[in-house]
Amino acid sequence: MATTTNTNVVESTPARTSLRPRFGWLGDRALATLFIAPTMVLLLAIAIFPLIWSLFLSFNKFSIIKDAAKGPVWIGLANYGSLLTDGDVWARFGTTARFVISSVAIEFLVGFALALLLNRNFKGRGVIMTLMLVPMMLSPLIVALFWGYMYRPDAGVIDYYIHNVFGLPAVLWLTDLRTAMWALVIVDVWQWTPFIMLIALAGLSAVPQYLYEAAEVDRASGWFKFWNITLPLVTPLLLIAVLFRSMDAYKMFDQAYALTGGGPNHTTEVLSIYLYQMAFRDFNTGKGSALGYIMLVVIIALANLLIRVLNQLRADSR
């Protein structure tokens, strides 16, 4: 029972002298409302209401620059229609998918491998691990700006190695159609592999040691142990990591904006960048709202998947 701790706490505060508790009139119901109200008000006002307004705008032809005086004009599903039949929009979905799949796949492989490496106790492990986690806490914008500097063919350090040390032709990371996307992926991998590594490590360290010992008794090979013990037990967490990362990669904006601005020739123009241009460069507010909703639908589908896995995990651990 919690009595021990409780008594300590009670002892450190003066004994109640009156029979009526302070704030006794604030019953549970009132408290519940009081506690939840500010949060709900803020969420409703700044998260929900704008989304509803945005939904309304998506059915209108409206440009905040050109139609400020005129106001929105109802056009029904025309925005959605033109977006879904526009080759450019599908191309951007493709670009985003390419980015998400490449980044998350590499992050998964590298992150999991790193977790396997870090799963054993060696001197300095704590410090090394904490240091490796710093990249994912940094501002993505600043990370991208700095990588942009390192990528420069003339002044950057990366091409110096490629060109002068290894003797290969300098890679024009940010201007070459073939390498721009990879440049972006590398930055993302650098920043977010630690995320997957962290989760994978948690999963690995949660695998009970006796399972391995039992397998050892049966003279099982390393590969057997990995395939039949480690992998199945770590998979749920890996899945969560991959899903989280995919959702975040789908939303990515800062890195692309700072590194390439969407170029060259739209090869790194992920959906967020495309939407930004539509809404804040061309100021096509109505159409931008529609595209935003289309993006939302896709991500909700992904999120549903995540929640299902999360619930499964919670059920398993109970």
Partner: protein, 477 residues
Amino acid sequence: MHKRMNWAIAVLALLSILLTACQPAATPAPTSPPPAATQAPAATSAPAATSAPAATSAPSGSKPQLSIIWFAWAPCQALTDYVKTYPDADVTVRCVPIAQWHDQIFTDFAAKGGADIPILDSQYIGEAVTGGHILELTDWMKTNIDVASYVPSALKAYGEYPPNSGKFWGIAAEADAQMFVYRKDIMTNATAMADYKAATGKDLEVPQTWTELLQIAQFFKKSSGKYGVANGYTTHWCGTPACYDQIATHWNQILWSFGGELWDPTTYKVQGVINSDIGVKALQFDKDLFQTGPDGQGNFQFNETVSALCDGTTFMTTIWYGFGAAFVDPKGCKHSADLAYGVTPGEVKHFISLGGMGLHVSAYTKNKDAALAFVKWFESKDGQLGWAKLGGFSARTDVLSSDTFKNAAPYNPSFADAYQYVKDFWNLPEYNNMLVTEMNNLNLAVTGQEEPKAALDAIAKDQQKILDDAYPSGPPK
């Protein structure tokens, strides 16, 4: 201990609420956020102490506050200094990165706020006018500006919309054109001159045509640094949206000088105009020119171009006069003393890309009279002479021919010559999407990732579609 922590949290929460709520909601960013680099004094100029950045003596509460927004480059910083000498108002200047220049201003327009005097690029004028975001100045100019002293094409370029309508919405803040910069120490190097003559039969001198320029560039590229530079020619080839109009303004003048056109302004036709044989020839030429430059130049913006000359990797460039201040600064530019300046060459015709931009008055300003008074002061002869002393460029012929202007910087004497050849490209509201496709495809073509003909066909197709969608019944009357 816990109790104290609880109270600490409560106090913190209260403090943060107070702090947020009571923050002065409008502490304007003091002067412009620092753009980068080169420090000042030119070794050549003997300036008077015209720009004493002293605090004005009148209590600032009685003077109107004005704000200007421009993009971050040396002239913007010069303007920040110059406005301190204006006696009738407190003027602050905001210099934003070029990638955000347009978006920032128009976002402010959308918010019905922003600077009192936005400096727009000439391309933005159409968009700003059709949205009702800037004031028409036609009548005001008649009585407040010495219209007759201006280069006529400058007045039109920086303020007229629709084209040739006689309606003016802005007036020159900074005139600009593309200048030719080269290493005079190498141009006069005896060995180089002798070898060049031997190789080509011509004298090594400042090129008068683009073909001559290409020949010189190719010679130096082949020389592999024997005469002191490893590359012949480079410029701002960048073609991404963030670069705005860099490669386009470079190539447009080549196209025009070769005899080609970007579009037909009377019929709003692009197809068949830009991708004509002359167009292909001009783009193929530019591709050859690209080959004479340093590695990685495909992404060069203005600062890398300046560095290429300053660090000594490249022999020649063409770039805006506005960047002259970066060239003459000996601290930031290693070869500053070896550089010389000339007029950008022509070919069968002689056209130079028009640069510069105008002062406009926001429709949402609360200080309309003060803003107009500032514009009048800035555009007056004395105002323009003061601007010239700080390195600014004027569009007034009387200022351009004055000694003050000519002596202010080593590249100024050639400016008046260059300015007679200037030509601008379309400033329709749809310019943005038209520019994006031109920039993309030009860059792909010069870097060898697309054939010139295919690139021009792509541009023509995209731009024609944009125009047809925006003007289904033909050009506006």
